[in-house]
Symmetry: C2
């Protein structure tokens, strides 16, 4: 007597007194005569049968797994993204294979190889490698980075967010603005935050300055920049738009050490929509990315049967949220 670890379809078939194929049809919801179906379902319940993922994958060449390639899960924005993408996949009975690149461009490329070996059914990637090769034979969706019309890209409306930030600061009474950002080496969707901001400032006729730091440059350069713009204890600007909430938070710390108070002396708006523990108040006033919608768009796109007919850039609306660093 074979001591099977877990029952197989053959066991169920024997238990139910039907053929193997019939069991398969019941499991997969194909038409089966009612009394046969009942016999099979009873047998399944009796044996506690669960189909074997590997067997099915081997046979169908579909794994029901989507790879998510992302820098890490420690940045709260990424954490939120991972969370919602996983939920969106789960709803569709898919699993997620998580790959942390740690911003390492080699790892980004290696993971693409690795997940293909694992025969994932698709890839969702948020990467920074400018020369990344996108495999053509597997559904591939990117976040925040446009590669080509054949690779759908999902992103928040970064340009609109920049406009919104400028308008909001204007509305809140700011007369002179500045834009702070980090990471100019790669041109991606978030780069448009600046474009929108500049565009709105010009349209509104507001003077502004910019400070863009290359990746790897010490953040203290921002402090130098701010210090250089303090005259007689007053900052030259009364409104600041910062590329990300994380950077905004850091900058606010610098302002504090320079004895500039927020939002009294200068109002600050960040970007992303990060909350302290993923809930409750925003850590700074911010342009909120619609993370859940982004996740949903990524998943429905990567799973869509006709990827080639999908729009190549899916742009989702942002909104402003108060977070204590603006007057309200």
């Amino acid at each position: 007597m074979k001591d099977k670890q877990t029952p197989t379809m053959a066991d169920v078939a024997k238990e139910a007194g039907v053929a193997l194929g019939t069991v398969s049809k019941v499991v997969n919801g194909q038409p089966v005569g009612p009394e046969f179906r009942k016999k099979v379902e009873d047998a399944i319940a009796r044996l506690g049968y669960q189909y074997n993922t590997s067997g099915r994958a081997l046979r169908t060449d579909r794994t029901n797994v989507i790879a998510l390639i992302i820098p890490n899960t420690v940045n709260p924005f990424f954490a939120l993204l991972v969370h919602h993408i996983n939920l969106a996949l789960e709803k569709r009975n898919f699993r997620m294979m998580l790959c942390f690149t740690e911003y390492d461009q080699n790892r980004e490329a290696e993971f693409i190889q690795m997940v293909r070996q694992n025969r994932v059914d698709g890839i969702i990637a948020l990467t920074y490698n400018p020369d990344l090769t996108i495999p053509a034979d597997i559904p591939f969706v990117t976040i925040d980075r446009f590669f080509s019309v054949s690779v759908p890209c999902v992103a928040a409306d970064n340009f609109g967010g920049g406009v919104l930030a400028a308008k909001k600061l204007h509305e809140l009474g700011c007369k002179r603005l500045a834009f702070l950002r980090i990471g100019s080496t790669l041109t991606n969707e978030p780069s448009k935050r600046k474009d929108g901001f500049v565009s709105a400032c010009v349209e509104l006729g507001i003077p502004f300055e910019m400070m863009v730091l290359d990746d790897g440059t010490p953040l203290s350069r921002f402090q130098d920049f701010l210090a250089a713009h303090i005259h007689e204890g007053r900052l030259d600007f009364d409104g600041l738009f910062v590329g990300t909430d994380m950077l905004a938070y850091t900058v606010i710390g610098m302002l504090k050490s320079l004895h500039i108070s927020v939002p009294q002396d200068v109002q600050v708006i960040g970007f992303d929509g990060i909350r302290m523990f993923g809930e409750g108040e925003y850590i700074v006033s911010t342009i909120v990315q619609p993370v859940q919608e982004i996740a949903e768009a990524c998943v429905s796109t990567v799973l869509s049967k006709h990827l080639s007919t999908m729009p190549s850039l899916i742009c989702l609306p942002v909104q402003y949220a108060y977070g204590g660093t603006t007057r309200e």
Copy 2:
């Protein structure tokens, strides 16, 4: 001519002019004659062959996947844990299957079923369901919750952390302490934070109070508690130990609204070791959990060949870190 999507071992064998079994041996690092090995390796390189995970899993009944069952990735502590566990698995050429329970006890149980169906090689779980059934036929490691001697549990030294918090507050000049915590319904390892704290207070002869809130009770009860302990504008305590950093952060907000200043009027120590963006400064003074060591212990335990001989409780040392809410 068959238009194979991806080359198989048979293709490699044909290309190399050897038998299928020989290719398998080369791929799996088993002894093979040098010239055969070379022929096979060349053929593999030429064809870009990668072995098929499903085929191997079907045959060997091992998937090289470990399931991680955890509430979410949004809480920074969990995010850090997910991150380090994934890295520890990756080092060993294992993949992680992430399951978010959202603190839902039904989902906790369902996921255990689901991942077994997916034939994972082991489970690491951080759960709250007191009646969770632990499957005996699959390596299972828990975090922060002891089920039985046959289910290894990995946790920080919660008792020691409680002791450390009390001693530190004492050292920093506190004369009267309080302990605040949430979630008393379930007794788990973190419950020992209180025990350690109490034990140290008694030993040091420091008076203290406790406020433990059941899960689901509104947090405003803490505010009521604090307000009730303010007399003539002064708080009865000058030192506070709070169950988690997250709660500590909330409580500090309450204190601020009650016009009690931290750390001047009252010093606060939390637990976990959460930093704003996973790096830089701690959000409150805290007892830091050794997350990386916890992750490493979980992974090496769940993958150990002889799980039954593993210690049933692995307790890892914590340490104090300054985070601005104590005098230093």
